[in-house]
Subunit: 264 residues, 2 copies
């Protein structure tokens, strides 16, 4: 029985893994967090592509049947470049969020927030425009959100002030839909929601990604429908203690075993 | 004419380079920022040691005469392990700050702030106790300070709130001297000073480090005393644009040329 592979630059992808666990209870899942090289968001395009390929090759060595790129930076910067190189189905986090946002917007104004790398790539914008060129997209990089989420500062005044500054151009643009374009941001959802106001729908792609993984497996005849106990395995390229300590907030449950792998 | 080598995990070491430029105006200086692997603060001990050795080997290839480890995490975690492996003089940032703090304290209570890696290593504490076992040391990891400094948030309310939370145990301990144990922190000096109050001396080691480099060169007969135009060269392992954009705040002047090196 082949597993589903999931990779992220660190712990953020666990918010996606959480939805995969819910949506696909009979599938084995192997998660790889590239904690030796985290964060991807400040790295150059060529480095993000190189690291993403290395993470995919690690998962392929573990004989997976599908790979979910649960990292917005890798999905937006690397995936468009490398998607066609691999035989294995690759599911990123951009497209599911874009489809949901385009479906949700009434005002045809969508906001996107993410890391510097994600926003600079303009992948969200291009994919939205590809589906509906009449939609106006306003983007804002929010680099302090990741350290706040990792430090467990979810709703303090400091987070609110930072959110106010980052979200100002998005609010001014009058969007009715905001894509949380980073897997860390669901942890700050409450503050972002308060700042944006009730009329704005927040698109947290994790659930849509899990459904896309399920549909893709189905279309390849790879979905496991029979009830069984499944295995969830976690690998990191460095510092399993750090990963374990953060896992609970991101995954919603503690992880008992995290293995460190060398030479990824 | 051999140059002085300086390395840091990223841009923070530029606050040390700034003082080296002032203190040693006739010396060539080669700075290496390991921006492909920044930040070191959340990495494991063995990874920090491995990356520090690789950075030192890169500088040795450039035929330097002394290496300044301008990174608190590398100085506190790696330097005690690797100092004796190398023939070249290695100057870290811990010892100069410790000497200054032990000299400055009247109450025999010193505070230390730094990254998670630096604080966990207890190197500051051990070095202070080595000089004066009667001194009480209180430490606090301040992981959000680095992203704030890099984002240019130096004195906003959000920074003040975060500083208040991080510095609380240090204030409660009644220290009269606080070591800024991270090269990023001088950029937040004003907020830290306000929070600690007038009675507390802040030790920003950059100046002391530059003096130690000068003294070490002198003791090895390597100091260049003759007036000359000197070269300052900057290398990074990734994303020279990001480094250049941040250089001005950290170095106090713009950098015209930053070269990316591969395979460090």
């Amino acid at each position: 029985m082949k597993a589903i592979g999931v990779f992220d630059s660190g712990v953020g992808g666990l918010t996606v893994a959480k939805e995969l666990f819910n949506e696909l209870p009979y599938e084995d899942i192997i998660y790889f967090g590239d904690t030796a090289r985290v964060p991807y968001g400040i790295k150059s395009r060529e480095t993000i592509i190189k690291l993403s390929i290395e993470s995919i090759l690690f998962l392929l060595k573990n004989d997976v049947k599908l790979i979910c790129v649960a990292c917005n930076t890798a999905s937006s910067v690397a995936l468009p470049e490398i998607r066609n190189h691999f035989k294995i189905p690759l599911v990123g986090v951009i497209n599911p969020a874009v489809k949901e946002a385009v479906y949700a917007t009434r005002s045809k104004r969508i906001g996107v927030i993410g890391t510097n790398g994600t926003i600079r790539s303009r992948t969200y914008e291009n994919e939205i425009k590809g589906l509906d060129p009449s939609i106006k997209v306003t983007s804002s990089a929010c680099p302090l959100f990741v350290p706040f989420a990792e430090e467990g500062w979810f709703k303090e005044k400091a987070v609110k002030e930072v959110a106010r500054a980052y979200l100002k151009p998005i609010k001014q643009a009058g969007v009715d839909t905001l894509i949380l374009g980073c897997t860390h941001y669901p942890l700050l959802k409450q503050v972002i929601k308060e700042e944006m106001g009730k009329g704005v729908v927040l698109i947290d792609s994790a659930k849509q990604v899990a459904m896309e993984v399920r549909d893709t497996l189905g279309s390849f005849g790879l979905l496991n429908k029979a009830a069984r106990n499944c295995r969830h395995m976690f690998y990191v390229s460095d510092n399993p203690e750090w990963f374990k300590a953060l896992a609970k907030s991101f995954l919603g449950q503690a992880i008992s075993s995290v293995r460190k792998v060398d030479n990824v």
